[in-house]
């Protein structure tokens, strides 16, 4: 086993063995179950239609269409979950002294950090994708119980794509959380800062007040990437690129949104490695 493989394997196992990695997704899954139960009890005569709901989640509603974006919330919840897990994967281990312990085993800091990031991102990809698949499964159950599942198997590539993108979003935000936590050297500061950013700065301030800037921001792009929407000033729900390009406020598509997220994350991780390499561990 090479050194890189050893670091990747050990740190991936370490992440998956942590309570945070298990309990956060399980909590979200439990919330989904509760949501489905509530939906079953309150859904009207129309019921839930699997294809319509999934399709609206994947492609976005046509303007004026009020159908529910079923996978849309994952574009919001998965980044938060992944960021918190990423932040605590460094912060908690820093606090308990595990980072110091690990550096006596693998003193090459870049290798240790990048090994942790890549193995953690891979693990969170799986966790986030599994959570998304679980949501789809719950919707299928809800649809079969209250509405219809007609045509469900015809759209499986579309559904699979959404699941994979959700997993990738999780991986990217894991790395972002890890990197930013290394930089500020505190998981509490990193997580609290991120939540303030998400709920106050990006959602309540930048999006309504500075729409030109919002197209570059992580949560806007995460939502677009998972939902396969374009990103535009003020936000809109257009999934078809041709249609998007014809709209006056279109800025970039879902692929660019994913690349932009990856770039944010890479910058954070790169800076983290540079800072960590120079830092005294004490």
């Amino acid at each position: 086993m090479s050194v890189n493989t050893a670091v990747f394997t050990a740190e991936g196992q370490r992440l998956l063995s942590r309570r945070m990695t298990r309990l956060f997704p399980l909590g979200l899954a439990a919330a989904m179950i509760v949501g489905v139960i509530i939906a079953m009890l309150t859904v009207g005569d129309e019921g839930v239609h699997f294809v319509d709901d999934i399709a609206s989640g994947v492609y976005g509603g046509i303007p004026g269409d009020n159908s529910t974006q079923v996978l849309g919330p994952l574009g919001f919840l998965v980044p938060i979950m992944a960021f918190v897990i990423g932040a605590s994967f460094f912060g908690a281990d820093q606090k308990t002294g595990m980072i110091e312990q690990l550096l006596t085993w693998e003193p090459r800091r870049s290798r240790l950090l990048l090994g942790r990031i890549t193995s953690g991102a891979a693990a969170i990809f799986v966790v986030a994708a599994a959570l998304s698949a679980f949501v789809v499964m719950m919707l299928y159950i809800l649809s079969s119980a209250t509405g219809s599942t007609d045509g469900a198997f015809d759209i499986w590539p579309t559904v699979l794509g959404a699941i994979v993108r959700s997993g990738l979003t999780g991986a990217i935000f894991f790395a972002l959380g890890f990197g930013l936590t290394v930089l500020v050297n505190s998981s509490v500061a990193s997580i609290v800062g991120f939540l303030i950013y998400v709920f106050v700065i990006e959602t309540a301030l930048v999006q309504p007040l500075l729409p030109k800037w919002s197209v570059w921001l992580p949560m806007t792009n995460a939502d677009a990437f998972v939902s396969r929407n374009g990103v535009g000033q003020g936000g809109f729900f257009e999934g078809v690129e041709i249609l998007n390009n014809q709209l006056p406020n279109f800025h970039h598509g879902w692929i660019a949104a994913g690349l932009l997220l990856a770039a944010w994350s890479a910058v954070a991780c790169g800076a983290a490695v540079m800072v960590f390499n120079q830092r005294d561990i004490d």
Partner: protein, 366 residues
């Protein structure tokens, strides 16, 4: 107790070759301490002119270690590293492990510069820095298994080291449920996983009860007797005295004294005898008049005289001629504690503190 200790790097990977640091001794399973291609000796630990300053915002710098020199050359040696709290012991150890970057000077382990080349020798060094640092929610065994995976060590070694530290039957309990003594032992097990040639233990007896300290003492001595070099920092002086072959004392980040245990114990080079006599004050006056240096002790009947024990007859004669008869006279065997206190002056509580260099002092120095 020692089963598995000496395993010939049991389950180990091959040492990674990194440039000039590749160690032939290890490949050839020689004990340690020797280098190298040209056959000359390389110290296990060699610290030269080590200095570490921490900046203290707006208040100049704090010097944690100041021009420290230290050498550990022999395998199978327990080297005590002593100093008051805040004297720079842990900073020195962190420098040795590449965790902290020296401001000046260098620290070498098996010939490798700790700052830039420690990775080449990391699998020959096991270390505990300050408290046991393992993940609280994982079992002892799980913690070790993950470290073994990271170090590419066979998993069977985990059970071996758990047995060495007598935690085999508690290996599946979570780390947070362990007593402090068990945590210390598990941390030692983690350090032993690599079957290291050098073991660095920072305050391993901290917080242990007397039975735990005695157990730790036996464990350290057993490991050293298996041919491993051990650097153990502590302020549990009596325990150090029991297990160490060599001692280094630092204060204010500076070397105070280093050498064999006897050399350090004999700190001021003055032999003393302890006299017991009911008429202490009278006897002390008589001996002072005879030109001797005497000092009262806490016990009301005892005092010390700076004299070799071969002078016992003469002392007895001087006192007897004045009608003063001894109840006892014995050599005052210096202890490490007395030497430590004498050398570091820790009774004033300040010697161990770090030196603060104010900006104006720094300017004056430069």
């Amino acid at each position: 107790m020692s089963a598995g200790l000496r395993g010939p790097h049991s389950g180990r990977r091959n040492t990674e070759q990194v440039g000039e640091i590749h160690d032939h001794a290890r490949d050839n399973h020689q004990p340690t301490g020797t280098d190298d291609k040209v056959g000359h000796m390389t110290a296990i630990v060699e610290i030269q002119q080590l200095r570490k300053e921490y900046s203290s915002r707006g208040r100049g710098s704090i010097v944690a270690v100041n021009d420290l020199n230290l050498t550990i050359g022999q395998p199978g040696t327990v080297h005590g590293f002593l100093g008051p709290n805040g004297s720079g012991k842990t900073t020195t150890i962190r420098c040795l492990l590449g965790l902290v970057r020296p401001t000046a000077g260098n620290a070498r382990v098996f010939g490798a510069d700790s700052r830039t080349e420690f990775h080449a020798v990391a699998d020959r060094v096991g270390a505990i820095v300050e408290n046991p640092k393992l993940f609280p929610n994982f079992s002892g065994r799980k913690n070790l298994q993950l470290l073994a995976t990271l170090g590419r060590i066979e998993q069977r070694r985990v059970d071996e080291v758990l047995d060495i530290v007598r935690l085999g039957d508690r290996g599946d309990d979570t780390f947070e449920s362990y007593s402090l003594g068990m945590k210390q032992r598990l941390a030692i097990a983690a350090a032993l996983l690599k079957d290291p040639e050098l073991l660095i233990l920072d305050e391993p007896a901290n917080g242990l009860d007397p039975a735990g300290i005695a157990e730790m003492r036996v464990l350290i001595r057993t490991i050293a007797d298996q041919g491993k070099a051990i650097l153990v920092s502590s302020h549990q002086l009596a325990e150090i005295e029991h297990v160490c072959d060599e001692v280094t004392i630092i204060a204010n980040g500076e070397l105070i004294r280093s050498g064999s245990l006897d050399h350090v114990r004999d700190a001021d080079g003055v032999e003393r005898v302890i006299v017991s006599i009911p008429q202490r004050e009278e006897a002390m006056a008589v001996l002072r008049a005879a030109g001797m240096t005497v000092s009262a002790m806490a016990n009301a009947a005892d005092f010390t005289i700076e004299a070799p024990k071969t002078d016992a007859g003469r002392i007895n004669q001087i006192l007897a001629e004045q009608g003063l008869f001894l109840e006892g006279l014995r050599a005052d065997r210096a202890t490490l504690e007395s030497a430590f206190l004498s050398l570091t002056g820790t009774s004033d509580g300040d010697r161990g503190g770090k030196t603060r260099i104010h900006n104006d002092q720094r300017e004056a120095q430069s």
